[in-house]
């Protein structure tokens, strides 16, 4: 199973994760 997020954000939004990285629920995905 997979969850896909698609969202609008200011162009300054930066992901704080890497492809292949394990994440846990509640972990930050990015910052403005």
């Amino acid at each position: 199973s997979t969850v896909v997020l698609v969202f609008e954000a200011p162009l300054g939004f930066r992901f704080g994760v890497q492809a292949g990285q394990k994440v846990r629920m509640g972990q930050a995905l990015g910052e403005m």
Binding site: S1, T2, V3, V4, L5, V6, F7, E8, A9, P10, L11, F13, F15, G16, V17, Q18, A19, G20, Q21, K22, V23, R24, M25, G26, Q27, A28, L29, G30, E31, M32
Partner: protein, 411 residues
């Protein structure tokens, strides 16, 4: 070989009449089938065009062809049935410990650590976590679930990158523009006790037409759906006895109150569209939570399936990283629930995508949603419901970061 070729006598026999007829019948059935596929293809193309989304078909190497030939949805339902069978109590602890060892489940963080109380693998798979096991970080966007980041980035030209060099269409993933023909989830949900509008009709055991009796006004987007009698029975036609005062309560369901057509994927000036794909492995905690503070306005359920040669929507391919690399348009082909809404920066969509082993998707605030069912819609279509009446003030279902939204179930 030369001798055999030259010396072997060729004998000719008449073809039996029955065989000839069977051959003609076979050819004719092939012709009819081809014509039917062509008709379905044209219908799917017309539907896709009307909904403003491209058509997608299965493409990939031979492994993909093999997977596409399998009855994955039936297998998924069979898998779900099997995993709902109760496990004998003495086998539960060793069985779940073996599963945990194989798939890397962390038993320490379970809310209910007594393995004997999980009667089958489905219950164990959908286990809850201890309070505080997953602290919610102070960030505008947090992960909705445990898992592995498959891919993330910016949506370029309405296309989302699946792997390097291969993309799939945003329009196909979340559907085109809403045509405004949504139905109201709370009015249609059996457990709902909220109605949009009530009206009392004075009737006295007479045949009625809802539209004339209750004053439906299609121009205003109001349509009478049913009448609730004094005894609580819901009727849509026929006779209905009024109560002692001669009244029966009518429920009016709004079909559309917004005249403008919504567009779910147009960012504002200075904004962009971003995406992030998280894969949940079999051993992961399989509930998902709200990733931010947002309002879910509507959900779309892409579930229909018909002939694989025409179009696939709502199939249940594996979504493992291996398959993601092989099968183009994987997330567009699989059954999924698209939750469309908005957050402080604009539009926000969250899309739980089903897979062969985990085909059922639950949304806690949507009891009407049933996934991985045999009786689904024609391929290329989706059903859409609005959550507007969940909270008319904000126009949908409001969620805070970390709030449990639903989850994936086995089969």
């Amino acid at each position: 070989l030369k001798n055999a070729w030259n010396a072997t006598q060729v004998k000719w026999y008449p073809i039996p009449v029955g065989l000839g007829i069977a051959f003609i019948g076979f050819q004719h059935s092939r012709h009819i089938r081809k014509r039917e596929w062509q008709r379905l293809r044209e219908e799917a193309e017309a539907q896709a065009e009307a909904q403003g989304r491209p058509r997608v078909v299965v493409e990939g190497p031979w492994q993909v062809r093999v997977a596409a030939a399998l009855p994955l949805r039936s297998l998924s339902r069979l898998w779900g049935w099997f995993n709902n069978l109760n496990i004998p109590r003495p086998l539960r602890i060793p069985g779940f410990k073996l599963y945990s060892f194989l798939f890397g489940c962390n038993l320490e963080e379970m809310k209910n650590p007594d393995l004997r109380t999980y009667s089958n693998l489905s219950e164990f798979f959908y286990r809850e976590l201890k309070d505080g096991a997953r602290p919610i970080e102070n960030s505008p966007l947090v992960s909705p679930s445990d898992g592995k980041i498959l891919h993330f980035g910016v949506v370029e030209g309405r296309n989302i990158e699946q792997i390097k060099g291969k993309t799939y269409s945003l329009d196909a993933l979340i559907g085109g523009k809403s045509a405004g023909n949504t139905t109201d989830i709370l009015a249609s949900s059996q457990s709902a006790n909220i109605v949009n509008e009530e009206k009392f009709a004075n009737i006295n055991d007479i045949p009625y037409s809802l539209d004339t009796l209750l004053g439906s006004d299609p121009a205003a987007g109001v349509k009478a759906e049913s009448i609730v009698g004094p005894d609580g029975t819901v009727r849509t036609k026929g006779k209905l006895a009024a109560d002692t005062t001669g009244n029966a309560r009518a429920i009016l369901k709004r079909t559309d109150l917004e005249p403008e057509v919504r567009d779910h994927h147009r960012p504002a000036e200075g904004h962009g569209l971003f995406f992030c794909v998280i894969y949940l492995a079999p051993g992961d905690y399989h509930r998902f939570h709200s990733p931010t503070n947002w309002v879910v306005e509507a959900r779309r359920h892409f579930a229909g399936e018909f002939n694989k040669d025409v179009e696939l929507h709502g199939e249940l391919f594996s979504v493992s990283p291996y398959m993601v690399k092989l099968l183009e348009n994987l997330f567009v082909l699989n059954e999924r629930v698209v939750l469309n809404g908005r957050w402080q920066y604009g539009i926000f969509s969250m899309i739980p995508v089903g897979a062969t082993n985990v085909g059922s998707i639950k949304i806690n605030f949507d009891e009407a949603l049933k996934t991985n069912r045999r009786e689904d819609l024609p391929g290329g279509t989706y059903t859409e419901v609005s959550y507007r009446s969940a909270d008319p003030f904000v126009g949908g279902k409001q969620l805070v970061p970390g709030e449990e939204m639903g989850g994936f179930c086995l089969g």
